[in-house]
């Protein structure tokens, strides 16, 4: 497979745009899945996954052909998703004042921390609960957990994708696991 990818990349570099379609076809599910688990929203995931492929195409000349293409592609996609999560953040600042109210903050807008009524929980598919809890992870734990347990990548590959030392990746995975344990132990 690596040989095919290399061949296609060389064709793309020569200006053959159509050779890129095969690369997209091979990686689209993995990249889309990565984006969906990071963002928790199909529409956004599609936008980001598309953007990742477009950026990879535009910058293909800067890709070192001796390296693994998937690592490079995942890095682009992960960075896009992290940027997206960070940009969305201001919407969720809980201590920000709600416009049009006098001194009310977002804290007053969210329901108290009690569990949802029984029937509502039952309506929610297990899949959705798990995804919700992944989405509730802080972004720095979410990316390592998704890469490790959904994309099933090795710790070394994750450290390359996120461009951070292996030790940092391990620490984040440990903390991510503890956070998941807290959130999912009662499911």
């Amino acid at each position: 497979m690596d040989a095919i990818i290399k061949k296609r990349i060389k064709q793309v570099l020569k200006g053959d745009q159509n050779a890129y379609a095969e690369i997209v076809e091979l990686y689209k599910d993995k990249v889309y899945q990565l984006c969906y688990r990071m963002l928790g929203n199909r529409h956004e995931a599609e936008d980001m996954a598309q953007e990742a492929f477009i950026r990879a195409y535009v910058n293909i000349a800067s890709f070192n052909i001796e390296l693994k293409f998937s690592t490079w592609l995942y890095r682009i996609a992960t960075n896009l998703c992290i940027d997206r999560i960070r940009k969305k953040k201001p919407d969720y600042y809980l201590d920000a004042e709600v416009s049009g109210t006098d001194g009310l903050t977002m804290y007053s807008q969210i329901p108290s921390d009690t569990r949802l009524p029984e029937d509502e929980v039952e309506k929610m598919e297990l899949q959705d609960i798990i995804q919700r809890e992944i989405s509730n992870l802080p972004e720095k734990y979410r990316s390592v957990i998704v890469l490790k347990y959904i994309e099933e990548l090795s710790l070394n590959e994750i450290s390359e994708i996120l461009d951070m030392p292996l030790g940092t990746v391990k620490t984040r995975i440990h903390r991510g696991r503890e956070a998941l344990r807290h959130q999912l132990r009662n499911v």
């Binding site: 689209k28 990249v31 599609e46 477009i54 535009v58 798990i130 959904i150 440990h174």
Partner: protein, 224 residues
């Protein structure tokens, strides 16, 4: 009772599959004794199993098509360059044509003075070249930027470039006689055509000469 932190660390080392044999045995022994740690470990394993269990979702069917449509269009320049790379002979041929045309046009434009092929009995009067009555000019006569009046005889072709044959009758009804072709060239395309024909003729002549030379040498060989 609070267990030492190291057991939590061991659990994560175990999950990363990086735990040493001794530590694994120690962890196992501890988990069998300590209910809290055992539950902690089970909760970790359960949450990971849940995360791994989420169905793998596939990208929408038209995903690839949409990406391809959203890609920046290939630059025209790239297309042209690719075409040139793929058709080197056509490229060379068209370049040659351009240069050729350029040189022909420049000779057409620059030569304004009267010029005539060198034959001893041609008479030049201002911008008219005269073949005197009774004279026989041997070989082709070429006049540029001037007229040609034939009163005698030309033993060959008569060509007038950017001028005319004054005797009026091109087709030799007059007193003058031309044994070969009579041609007037005034328009630029005719000029180019004339040039190409000349070049072609020269090439053909060259080969024909070669052939006849060969035949001659063969003939000589047979004769000997």
């Amino acid at each position: 009772m609070k267990c030492p932190e190291k057991y939590i660390a061991y659990m994560h080392e175990y999950l990363d599959e990086e735990i040493s044999k001794e530590d694994a045995l120690e962890l196992k022994a501890h988990l069998s004794k300590c209910g809290d740690c055992h539950r902690h470990f089970q909760e970790l394993e359960k949450s990971l199993a849940l995360v791994k269990s989420v169905a793998h979702i596939a990208a929408p069917g038209d995903f690839t098509m949409r990406v391809m449509n959203a890609l920046p269009k290939e630059k025209k320049k790239v297309g042209v360059q690719r075409w040139l790379r793929h058709h080197p002979i056509l490229t060379a041929a068209s370049l040659f044509m351009v240069l050729m045309m350029g040189s022909l046009l420049s000779t057409w434009n620059t030569e304004k003075a009267l010029s005539v092929s060198k034959q001893p009995n041609l008479v030049i009067d201002h911008d008219t070249v005269i073949v005197p009555e009774g004279a026989v000019v041997k070989g082709d006569v070429v006049v540029r930027n001037g007229s040609l009046r034939v009163e005698g005889q030309i033993d060959g072709n008569a060509t007038v470039i950017n001028g005319e044959i004054v005797n009026g009758e091109k087709y030799m009804a007059s007193a003058g006689q031309v044994t070969g072709e009579v041609k007037e060239i005034n328009a630029i395309f005719e000029w180019i055509w004339y040039h190409m024909k000349n070049t072609a003729k020269e090439v053909v002549n060259f080969f024909e000469d070669n052939e006849s030379a060969e035949e001659q040498s063969l003939g000589v060989a047979v004769f000997l």
